[in-house]
């Protein structure tokens, strides 16, 4: 089995933390893994993405070929759409629905474009939620990205949700119990969204 995931967002929104947690769980599950990241200039408020590949067999390319990704996980809705060419048939988009507007010409029809995808006959599933509002509501404003990870968990398939949950605890362990707790709450909230 093989899962190719594009992580997308704006610099500073925490996509690399999501990658670190999935990476931790994948390593524990003894999966092969490659994860290409973006560092440097583009991290300054620009668009950022990471290619995460998980497999039971050898992975050659660090980059995912177009049309082969199983999933896009995005902390920002326009950034989710930016990598649509990479998503394969039957792909899943898990995204924050709240736009991050730091440019003057942000399109006003991003959510319409996203919603249209679900009905486009392309066999694409879109799961979206305003994770920032949800995080604030539950007093865990810094854990919005982990809510998103929880939303994605049931669709990863190659890693079990409880393995991911365990990895959340492990990755944040060095930051103290309160941070671990907040992120576990966030993860469970995200999982709950799928069950609605």
């Amino acid at each position: 089995m093989k899962r190719d995931i594009i992580l997308a967002g704006v610099g500073g929104q925490g996509i690399l933390s999501i990658a670190t947690i999935i990476g931790e769980a994948a390593t524990k599950a003894e999966l092969q893994l490659k994860q290409a990241e973006v560092h440097g200039m583009s991290q300054r408020g620009g668009d950022v993405q990471s290619n995460l590949r998980l497999s039971h067999t050898t992975i050659y390319s660090d980059l995912i070929p177009r049309g082969k990704a199983d999933m896009i996980i995005a902390t920002e809705p326009m950034e989710a759409l930016r990598y649509l060419d990479w998503l394969g048939d039957g792909g899943v988009i898990v995204t924050n629905s709240r736009p991050f507007v730091n440019i003057p010409n942000y399109p006003d029809d991003i959510m319409e474009q996203l919603e249209a995808l679900g009905h486009s006959g392309k066999n694409i599933k879109v799961i979206q939620n305003d994770i920032e509002a949800l995080a604030r509501e539950h007093m865990i404003p810094k854990s919005a990205n982990i809510i998103l990870l929880g939303m994605a968990a049931p669709y990863l398939n190659i890693i079990k949700a409880d393995e991911l949950r365990e990895a959340v605890g492990k990755v944040f362990a060095s930051k103290g119990n309160a941070v671990v707790e907040a992120n576990l709450v966030a993860f469970d909230l995200g999982m709950g969204i799928n069950l609605l």
Binding site: T27, L33, R44, Y60, D62, L63, P65, R66, D85, P107
Partner: protein, 521 residues
């Protein structure tokens, strides 16, 4: 034996530490920075502090090698231009302790001003080049690179690209760590490159080339995967991965060590009608292959089968092998999201003031430099007229002023100023050039993530020492409330006929937050 999840950069760093590294010398630059950072966090070697620039790094590493110890130099590709004098001549002197130079190339210019291919430097200097195809190879190669360096008494160039440097994978690491070399200086006369000695050394270097070619033929990193097909592939470094990703059975020569293994390439040419060269960067191998006089068609980036610019991807390699272009579906209605200066960054206040003052002088030109503040070229400021290389702001402003441009203003960061700006400022002082130099000092090397900056707390002294008049070295604090004062200082110094230096000084907002967090703990 242990498995670790490592970035390509981290695999290089750990490989060097396990190979008995005594010192790393480097200037930060994407995508190479994490090598030195990893050693700073995890190593206990004699030296790991950041250097002022790539040339001082290269020379200090050569000094450590002279003393008998293993040294590492790391930089981004354009750093090779800065250290080229020392690098090329280190092949003429030769080395004593093993010396490995890592150049991290950036095809597609994710965070760079060009996509020059460092393998040309290796060939130019006539030294062996390693080009890993995976994080595991990057780790394993470090030990072999040091062994080869000491056996051949030559520096070894390790060339990586962004997609290896900044990609993570599982790496099997050794449990045994080789001890460091003991202090054992090389007392030979060959370190003195007077012409009479250098001529002998150069002949010796040329005589080593056949041994280097043999090493490449026998290298475990260069191999021939046989298969029956009219199309054969020469795959260099990570190009190999994209070929394998296609899952098409093709005869492949994988190349990760240079000079080119010509015998292997000739064997492939005898089996095939056509050879496709898959290499990231410039057509380094493709050009050489054409010079071998093989009786096959050779295609690659030069023939347009692969794009002439930009990095390799699994898609463009697959298209080249399958000899067809895939048409892309119409993309959604999106807009680009370029990077920008952080909210609360002091550079913003500098540009806010500068933009207004420049609009008062309609002949003003502003020469920029390399760092976060290069983003001042983009909206909303659009405050820069040039950005070339580290330090060029001051010297270009001087040359433009020589030609009659006024006001000629340079904007340079603190770390870039000590890297390559100081000598240009001395030229300007000696010529009494009519320029204003803004050293936007945020107390760190910010663009690469907040490394120490070599000149922190020394800038006024440096400028005075270089001969700038004391009343024209001015420090301001870039905050929104001070904009009017900064504007007046700019006007005053533009109107002074001579060299002025204005130092807006406020800590980088990113390192400021990090330091505040650390204090809370």
């Amino acid at each position: 034996m242990e498995k670790r999840l490592l970035l390509g950069d981290e695999a290089i760093a750990l490989g060097a530490l396990h190979a008995g590294l005594s010192g790393v010398y480097a200037y930060p630059g994407t995508p190479s920075t994490e090598i030195t950072e990893f050693i700073q966090k995890n190593g206990k070697c004699l030296h790991s502090r950041w250097c002022t620039n790539e040339k001082t790094a290269m020379e200090a590493a050569l000094g450590m090698s002279y003393a008998g110890k293993r040294a590492l130099v790391c930089m981004k590709h354009v750093g090779m231009n800065v250290c080229a004098d020392a690098f090329v001549n280190s092949a003429i002197t030769g080395v004593n302790g093993g010396l490995v130079v890592v150049a991290a190339d950036d095809p597609s210019m994710h965070s760079s001003q060009n996509e020059q291919d460092s393998r040309f430097y290796g060939k130019f200097a006539m030294v062996p080049i390693f080009e890993p195809s995976s994080q595991q190879e990057a780790y394993d190669m470090m030990n072999d690179a040091y062994e080869l360096s000491e056996r051949m008494r030559l520096p070894v160039l390790m060339r990586v690209v962004t997609r290896l440097a900044h990609s993570r994978a599982s790496v099997v690491v050794r449990s045994d760590v080789r001890p460091e070399n003991s202090l054992n200086p090389d007392n030979g006369r060959h370190w003195i490159l007077l012409p009479a000695i250098a001529r002998k050394n150069y002949i010796a270097l040329i005589e080593k080339q056949s041994a280097l070619a043999r090493a490449s033929e026998q290298s475990q990193y260069n191999y021939y995967e046989k298969a029956n097909n009219e199309l054969g592939i020469v795959a260099c470094g990570i190009g190999y991965n994209y070929v394998k990703e296609t899952e098409i059975k093709l005869p492949i020569i994988k190349i990760s060590q240079y000079p080119l293994p010509e015998q292997k390439l000739k064997a492939l040419a005898e089996q095939c009608q056509e050879i496709l060269v898959v290499e990231d960067g410039q057509p380094f191998v493709e050009e050489q292959l054409k010079g071998l006089g093989l009786n096959v068609n050779i295609s690659g980036r030069l023939t347009g089968v692969l794009p002439r610019t930009g990095e390799l991807t699994p898609d463009n390699v697959s298209e080249a092998i399958n000899n067809r272009r895939t048409s892309l579906p119409p993309t959604p209605h999106l807009v680009p999201r370029p990077p920008q200066l952080c909210q609360g960054c002091g550079h913003r206040d500098v540009y806010a003031a500068l933009k207004e003052v420049v609009s008062e002088f309609n002949t003003a030109k502003v020469f920029g430099d390399i760092g976060c503040y290069t983003l001042g070229a983009l909206p909303p400021y659009q405050a820069l007229d040039s950005t070339i290389d580290m330090g060029a702001s001051i010297t270009m402003a001087k040359g433009a002023a020589d030609a009659g441009i006024w006001p000629a203003i340079a904007v340079i960061g603190d770390s870039t100023f000590t890297h390559s700006g100081m000598t240009g400022l001395l030229d300007a002082v000696n010529d009494q050039a009519n320029i204003v130099v803004i050293i936007s000092d945020n107390l760190t090397t910010a663009m690469t993530g907040g490394q120490d900056s070599a000149g922190t707390n020394k800038f006024e002294q440096i400028c005075l020492g270089l001969g700038v008049e004391p009343e024209h070295v001015k420090v301001v604090v870039p905050l929104p409330k001070n904009i009017e004062d900064i504007k007046q200082t700019l006007r005053d110094e533009i109107n002074y006929k001579g060299v002025s230096v204005i130092i807006p000084r406020r800590e980088c907002i990113q390192t400021f937050r990090r330091h505040a967090k650390e204090q809370k703990k």
